[in-house]
Subunit: 411 residues, 2 copies
């Protein structure tokens, strides 16, 4: 069996030197990986073909997600150059004060240490994740899915060779060359070497990770995102926001799945959803909405479902309070929006709605590391611990206290 | 069986209103609890007697930890008044910027939501934890140990009555009146209602929580803390720091357990540990140290043990690099110190040592919410996710993004 512990141990040891590398050194690491990627495109594509050919009939829909070509590989390399441009978060002093006894106290950012990432499907994750972890001073252990094992192995070998041949420690990026459930389980038990686990994939993977990990996990629950159109809303603005949030990319986690509308303006519904219907979007509604729109009535489960499709559920509410309670009960703490002209209600909505990102008069689709200005993201957290929303480089660090004394002892 | 889910559900619902309470309202809640505590001291002491009497012979050492009297109850009330004085972290804007498209973005502190605390022994935790959670806008679910069930129940009833009779929602503080393992397990499965679990107790409790919790956990691994005396150290300063860190309170997690000394100054050892020996501290050392001090030689396990006693392990190292590696291998990421006059080495030590608090020329005993100026603490984290070191009110919040637009949609 593949020796997972050995990889984790080496990553742990390598993480100590990486944690104190200068931004310049880390950028050189990324640069040599980017160059090696482009230089080895042919070999990567060849390995990728094995994966694509091995897809069974039922999985052919994933073919496009899995397939690599020269332009996709060039894009991975570009992604690394983008990360090079980002500011290094390590060493940033986020707070400082003098203690009553003269000790100088600083709170400084340092890497998390070793990050384990368990991911499914797309092989570009291998490069993205390695780039973000290295730039934030974290060693990383990659455990990809079986559908992409040949591609991932080829990409890992590129990383390893690039680091090694340029005099860097290749152990900062570890690769679990074993796609059995057992190898994941073993990785999740190694809290001695792995500080944090990030699962990237479906609900099944997330549950597996949460129930087996002995170390902290940063997980995302997907996005069952709502848009609430309050009665004072500018209806044209609401229509545009709804269309953007539902139709621009319905398969992503920040797309709108649920529309809440004030019962006082329910007659505007046909106008509001017109662009969706024209775009082929299926709509279901509660009794009132279904009657007005002449569509099927919703069942309870529809309100909890992340549709990930051209499909919208509509619910009428009698007050903004009801909308807030509804969202807190049915949402997944991802992205929630209100359209309103009433600033008091907007303020109450942003304070009371429990989500990583809360929008007033803007589309939920903005929840994204690039849009937020983080330059890149390793995922979007729907947890409340550590970090909510898009996870950029800063979110891959934690803050430690450094106390500089002159011999102080505690009374 | 006790209905754990009902308590959690009610706490979740109550948490939404609590999350947006003003500091003034939350302070009033704490004040009425403090008053009710003092007014009901007799009843609490009576209930506490049942617990103390029920202690079996082998547990008599815990008697002092468990016992409540009027002065201890007054101290709990005082603790609440101290929390009233602390600044409310909720609503603090920790960052703000304008997006490229004009959206105004703020990162603001909001409560975690519902915090579950599973604790052992001391009943004062019931009041401390309730106070800190309420002030930080979090609903809390208390699950104490069986040794203190009567005391905890009495304290909880005081909280409940105080809130209820003053017109506040009593569901913001939940109490699991069932000390079976099953009730804990059920609580740990309710990630739908409970956002975070904080275990406070021994290693067994922590492991139980980590392996059963479906929600994020903030845990502490205890403190196997080192003091490294580098060869340029001021020996008198080192002697004072060592004495303070080892002898002032050996049973606490920020006490020093391990001494690392540069082999170049190993002849100073007898002078360095003289105050410890006078104070009755047991010492073991590696070959070199044991020979010089004429004490027993250590075995490997001694270096991994949090002694929590008048007992110090001594290890000689040949360089500061060796000391750093040793600490990263054997420490528990709690508090680590170097005594040195060399600022370059000090700097390297603080950057490379992986711990919540790293000290230069100061005692490890300062790792404490009060000493750090947080005013109070709910525990000390040795995790790297979310928060390291002492957990004050700020650490009981997380930051969400609030985006105020004027109709922006994503291109």
């Amino acid at each position: 069996m593949f020796n997972v512990e050995e990889v984790a141990k080496k990553a742990r040891y390598a993480s100590y030197s990486l944690a104190v590398c200068s931004a310049d050194t880390k950028n050189k690491m990324l640069e040599c990986i980017a160059k090696e990627l482009v230089a080895n495109a042919d070999g990567i594509i060849e390995a990728n073909k094995l994966d694509v050919e091995a897809l069974d009939e039922s999985a052919k829909v994933f073919k496009d997600r899995l397939m690599l070509n020269e332009s996709r590989i060039a894009k991975m390399a570009e992604g690394l150059y983008e990360i090079i441009k980002l500011e290094d978060p390590v060493g940033e002093v986020t707070a400082s004060w003098k203690m009553y006894n003269g000790i100088e106290m600083r709170k400084t950012r340092s890497p998390l240490g070793v990050i384990g990432v368990i991911y499914e499907a797309r092989p570009n994750v291998t490069i993205d994740v390695a780039g973000l972890c290295v730039k934030s001073g974290n060693a990383v252990i990659l455990r990809g899915g079986k559908e992409a094992i040949n591609s991932n192995r080829a990409l890992y070998n590129v990383i390893k060779n690039a680091l090694e041949s340029n005099g860097f420690d290749p152990d900062i990026v570890g690769f679990i060359d074993d796609t059995s459930r057992e190898s994941s389980k073993q990785m999740l038990s190694l809290d001695r070497y792995v500080d944090v686990i990030i699962p990237r994939g479906g609900d099944g993977l997330k549950k597996f990770v949460l129930s087996n990990a002995t170390m902290p996990v940063i997980a995302s629950a997907g996005g069952n995102c709502h848009i609430y159109i309050e009665k004072s809303a500018d209806i044209n603005m609401a229509r545009e926001i709804l269309e953007n949030a539902k139709m621009s990319r319905p398969t992503v986690c920040n797309a709108c799945e649920q529309l809440l509308i004030d019962s006082g303006i329910v007659e505007k519904l046909p106008y509001l959803v017109e662009p969706l219907i024209k775009g082929g979007c299926k709509i279901k509604g509660d009794k009132v909405a279904a009657a007005i729109l002449n569509v099927e009535e919703t069942v309870e489960e529809d309100y909890y479902e992340e549709h990930l499709d051209y499909y919208l559920t509509v619910k009428t509410v009698n007050s903004h309070g009801e909308a807030i309670d509804w969202i807190n009960e049915h949402g997944t703490k991802h992205s929630e929006a209100i359209v309103t002209k009433d600033t008091d209600i907007a303020d109450e909505f942003t304070r009371k709605v429990d989500a990583g990102a809360v929008y007033v008069n803007a589309s939920t689709r903005f929840t994204d590391g690039f849009e937020f200005g983080f330059g890149a993201e390793i995922g979007i957290s729907t947890q409340k611990l550590h970090a909510r929303g898009p996870l950029g480089l800063k979110q891959l660090t934690s803050e430690k206290y450094v106390a500089i004394g002159t011999g102080q002892v505690r009374k």
